[in-house]
Subunit: 220 residues, 2 copies
DNA sequence: TACAAATATTAGACATGTCTAATAAATCGA
DNA sequence: TCGATTTATTAGACATGTCTAATATTTGTA
């Protein structure tokens, strides 16, 4: 049985490895709101327990065992987020903190029955894929909005960064999973782009925002 | 913010005070599967924090503050049990351990929206009353089955002890909340009683069992 | 009522996870 | 490529919650 802190560290390594290809001590410390020395201690311990490889000064990577565990945590997190939004009526920007707690409740039966209750959803309210009970993730051909070009028409399928600030900004602009955008112009100067939603006036999105939106192409 | 262990101790004091009028160190230790010395330490700490009064050698009692907290824990526990049984299809004898974990998830919004989602239930699947958000419990005129007499007809409204063993025994006999029993005979020798369910053959219940069943009288 | 048994507390050890400060290694820029 | 900066690790302290063993108190019974 792992502690909450151990699970949090494993999941943080998983998330950071998605982005770069290693998870570094400082990034882990920032994400976990702790200190680098504490992270080093924990990495050493988790390496001993076989959940990850820790190369001092060169970051950490999950083993197959750690990967499997991280996927279960991600699965639990996203299923709970789905439950909170779809059944309890939470806003999609209100669920993260609560799901963070719920994902540590240990019960195979609970999570599998929750999954069934929700109809085995493949994506959560942020558009992120939900691993199945074997840890498999359904693939989608998506890219970041900031690599799209003028003339594209796209549908938002995921938000890759879930800070409250970003989620509220999207909410304020009326953007959500499934929203359709026509890209009118991309400004090379700052990477900002002018976009027009299906039913509404055009507005501008900074690169900081478009960078975190996953989209798929659709017919205009 | 209290730790899980602190919350567990407060709830255990609450439960034991329901039965006797004080909670004693040894009983707390047994219930919490820990040692008496650990309980003493914790009682001292919780007394300092104002959740209970601890009279060394004479047990512990909750303060108003501790009582309020215990009632919130009971509320959360019973709402989650209701959710697990009514929505996720758990058996009523499978929910305790999971609810024990879920009750420590901290979010006012979560528990209030869960309450609304379930339709503000007043009783959980074991028939125990669910405190409302202010900690108020709806009263019922009930008594234990073992103080009933031959000739009574009663409905089971609660099971006061929730060990797996008892719950499974009840399940095997087809007894559940809402079951109706006609009491045919009570044996003074061992306190056992012969009872007959509405649609089924009569059988015997030992005092160990009938002691834990809360019933209300109904017209035969 | 006095002593044995049961229960409770205290003292001290230990495991865990966290931190700060000191030290070490890697990286970046002139 | 060298020194400054950033990042990482180690060493040691500390808080928390647990335990065992020793001691103290209460309770039950002859």
């Amino acid at each position: 049985m792992l502690t909450r802190s151990e699970e949090d560290h494993i999941k943080a390594v998983y998330v950071l490895v998605q982005e770069g290809d290693k998870a570094f001590t400082k990034d882990l410390a920032d994400r976990l709101r702790t200190k680098a020395s504490s992270v080093t201690d924990m990495l050493k311990k988790l390496a001993e327990k076989g959940y990850l490889k820790h190369e001092p000064y060169y970051g950490a990577k999950l083993t197959a065992k750690g990967q499997a565990l991280a996927l279960q945590l991600v699965r639990k997190h996203r299923l709970w987020e789905t439950f909170l939004v779809e059944r309890l009526g939470f806003g999609w920007d209100e669920v993260h903190e609560v799901a963070e707690q719920l994902e540590h409740v240990a019960s195979e039966q609970l999570i599998n029955q929750l999954d069934a209750y929700l109809g085995h959803p493949a994506f959560d309210p942020h558009g992120d894929p939900i691993p199945d009970r074997n840890g498999r993730i359904r693939a989608r051909r998506t890219r970041r909005l900031d690599v799209s070009v003028a003339g594209d028409t796209v549908r938002i399928v995921a938000v890759s960064e879930t800070t409250d600030g970003l989620l509220r900004l999207l909410d304020a602009k009326g953007l959500r999973i499934g929203s359709t955008l026509a890209i009118q112009e991309v400004h090379a100067f700052d990477g900002s782009m002018d976009v027009k939603p299906k039913n509404g006036a055009a507005f501008s999105l900074s690169k900081d925002v478009s960078h975190h939106l996953q989209v798929e192409s659709i017919q205009p």
